[in-house]
């Protein structure tokens, strides 16, 4: 136990200090995000992530949003296991033929009003997988999409930025 406490104190808060350009960006984006989330979602934006066919690259960065460096929870962003609790679907793609039905069902199970964000080049337009017998292309070809965050994969900062741009751009 002492070792754990020692390590915790030695590590400190890794989200500070902010010398690096990228880290500075996290906090700048994060502060605006927190403000938007406080205003629009009563301090808590709940996200259900859906992999609709990705190569798992985007998932790595969405998981990284939760690491202590980005720590998206401090801005009020939570990931939930159930679409029933979700305000937002964060969908990576391309949407595979075999995931189309599951994605539509997840969308239907999410209560209105809801936001849908397509993540990654493939989520935006199918990326290198394009449209084929097995890939239906971008998320927008299957469910209505409110915003796209391009990148292969988009970094955690890109993701936070993209989410901010969407909820900030919407009228209160």
């Amino acid at each position: 136990m002492l070792r754990i406490l020692h390590q915790i104190f030695r590590t400190g808060v890794v989200t500070e200090p902010l010398t690096d350009e990228v880290e500075a960006e996290v906090v700048m984006v994060g502060a605006r995000l927190e403000e938007a989330i406080r205003r629009r979602f009563s301090r808590s934006l709940v996200i259900r992530q859906v992999d609709a066919g990705s190569c798992n690259g985007c998932e790595l960065e969405i998981i990284a949003m939760n690491n202590p460096v980005y720590n998206c929870e401090r801005f009020g962003i939570h990931f939930t296991a159930s679409p029933r609790f979700a305000d937002m679907l964060l969908v990576t793609g391309p949407v595979s033929h075999n995931m189309e039905i599951a994605l539509k069902r997840t969308y239907d199970a999410t209560p209105d009003p809801k936001l849908v964000v397509a993540v990654g080049d493939c989520g935006c337009n199918g990326g290198i997988f394009g449209e084929s017998y097995a890939s239906l292309g971008g998320v927008g070809s299957v469910i209505p999409v409110d915003a796209c965050i391009p990148g292969c994969p988009p970094s955690p900062v890109d993701l936070l930025n993209g989410i901010l741009a969407l909820i900030d751009g919407q009228r209160v």
Binding site: G53, N56, E59, N66, A102, F129, C152
Partner: protein, 525 residues
């Protein structure tokens, strides 16, 4: 000369016709008559060979019919056995009597190429990857199938394995899972908390990758290979490029080889750190989760700073690498590793001295050594179950032939072993990276690639962080991609998970699953 090849040529005499395969790896190819295809499996099984891959190819554009391949290996000595399959009788002898993993490979061949295995030991002809709502005659890997078409949906039902009896119940999980992970379906039959059967249903993220390759240029193929499984982008792009370089007779410059190995080890570091974190998290040890993900993030940031991408996507290209180590790069990586290892060792002490963690990890999810061998598992899953398999040692490319990795083999076969193999490999990768940096040769980082000649085959294997990745490439009549066969480690290791969870309690499934952490995308293609 290949011992495996000798065994077959001695046994089959004039029936075994040598074929050509171009590869940087020790590999030979032999053609056999279709009726003796299974016999080769018997002979090679007796010789201790593992069935590493099994696939079919449509060679109609090359003026032939179909062909079925089986890839066997003993200690880095690979052998491809091929048999021709006529168009009017699209069947081939099943290898399931000799090799367990053949049933998955064969279901896939039947589903995607429409060739039917005969004498199948389980008679399991349920489609795999192809879902029940696909038209029955949709065989995407056939040349006559237009890959750009939209598939109609037809009514159909997937017959699941059932279990009945008083107190037996089913738990269906997925395809959309609770966490931020890929989709797949798991169906448990349980009695109380004990799992009596687990059936996996994969294929949800099938993106038609193998078919897609056939419409791309060889250069673009490297980008697609880098997106077969995002967490293994280096390893997949590397295997593809090595197979392609074998096919074209291209020799990457020495510095490119060393930089590729550097990228491969950095990918291993990042993923192993993330996995150790996730295993601790699934045992409810959040402290270690955050600490290890913090360490993983440092690797990703250094990657971005030095090479321009957090996961090193598209840094491996045909003929070499697309980015060189900056002049201050070696020093930066050394400093990073010094700090990382100091922190890592502190955390591992905490990990090792935590009885509650030990209680969850030890004796959980045991995959017995003989089962790990019979299922053909590879990578850290195999090594944690006593199998001494590592392509970096058994089929090395420079610099692994000069700087040898440490082969970490454990025999407790449980979640703990699968975590501990990764821990030892983190230490070893740090050592390897340091040695690479010390002895990194100077010079170019990329050679020019010649276009492949028509109707040639290339083959390569690379030990990614998950295990052995295999690519087999075939050029068509005008030197284009006719077929790209991909065997991700997940294709075989998923079988191990089904067996490892038996007798465990349902709440330990996430922990077992995390200890395997196989790729859905790499499996589904």
């Amino acid at each position: 000369m290949s011992a495996m090849r000798d065994i077959i040529t001695t046994h089959f005499g004039a029936d075994a016709v040598p074929g050509a395969v171009l590869s940087p790896v020790t590999v030979s190819a032999l053609h056999l008559p279709r009726e003796r295809f299974e016999e080769a499996a018997s002979v090679l099984k007796k010789a201790g060979a593992r069935l590493a891959a099994h696939w079919a190819v449509d060679e109609t554009l090359l003026g032939r019919a179909f062909a079925v391949y089986a890839c066997y290996v003993v200690a880095g000595d690979y052998l491809l056995v091929r048999c021709a399959v006529p168009l009017d009788d699209p069947t081939f002898p099943s290898l399931t009597k000799k090799y367990i993993p053949a049933f998955r490979f064969e279901r896939q061949i039947e589903s995607l190429m429409g060739l039917v295995p005969t004498g199948h030991v389980h008679s399991d002809h349920r489609p795999w990857i192809k879902f029940e709502d696909w038209p029955a005659d949709a065989w995407p890997l056939r040349k006559g199938f237009d890959g750009a078409q939209k598939l109609p949906r037809v009514p159909g039902e997937y017959p699941w394995a059932r279990a009945t009896g008083e107190g037996v119940y089913e738990i269906p999980v997925g395809p959309v899972h609770a966490g931020i992970i890929e989709p797949g379906h798991f169906r448990f039959q349980a009695m109380g908390e004990d799992i009596i059967n687990l059936e996996e249903r994969l294929g949800y993220v099938h993106k038609g990758i193998e078919k897609r390759f056939e419409s791309l240029s060889w250069e673009d193929g490297a980008r697609l290979a880098g997106r077969v499984s995002g967490d293994s982008t280096v390893a997949h792009a590397l295997t593809y490029c090595r197979a392609l370089e074998g096919l074209c007779g291209c020799q990457p410059p020495p510095r490119a080889h060393w930089l590729r190995a550097l990228f491969l080890e950095r990918e291993r570091l990042a993923n192993h750190l993330g996995d150790i974190a996730a295993i601790a998290n699934d045992a409810a040890f959040a402290f270690l989760f955050y600490q290890f993900t913090r360490l993983k993030e440092t690797i990703l940031r250094t990657n971005r700073r030095l090479f321009g991408h957090r996961y090193l996507m598209d840094r491996i290209v045909a003929g070499g690498v697309s980015v060189d180590l900056p002049f201050d790069g070696a020093e930066l990586i050394r400093t990073e590793l010094d700090e990382l290892l100091t922190e890592f060792e502190r955390l591992i002490t905490i990990y090792d001295l935590s009885p509650s963690l030990e209680d969850r990890l030890r004796t959980t999810g045991i995959l017995k050594a003989e089962l790990a061998r019979d299922l053909g598992t590879v990578g850290f899953v195999a090594r944690a179950s006593g199998q001494a398999l590592d392509c970096r040692i058994q089929a090395p490319f420079p610099p692994y032939d000069q700087i040898r990795p440490r082969l970490v083999v454990l025999d407790s076969c449980d979640v703990h072993a699968r975590a501990w193999v990764r821990i030892e490999e983190v230490r070893d990768s740090c050592r390897l990276i340091r040695e690479f940096l010390t002895r990194l040769p100077s010079g170019d980082i990329k050679s020019t690639l010649q276009q492949p000649t028509p109707d040639s085959c290339g083959f390569a294997v690379v030990e990614g962080w998950r295990g052995e990745i295999i690519y087999w490439l075939q050029s068509g009549p005008s030197g284009e991609i006719n077929r790209c066969m991909i065997r991700d480690p997940s294709s075989v290791n998923w079988l191990g998970l089904e067996q490892a969870v038996l007798g465990n309690i349902v709440p330990d499934f996430p922990l077992c699953n995390k200890s395997f952490n196989q790729s859905y995308s790499g499996h589904d293609l």
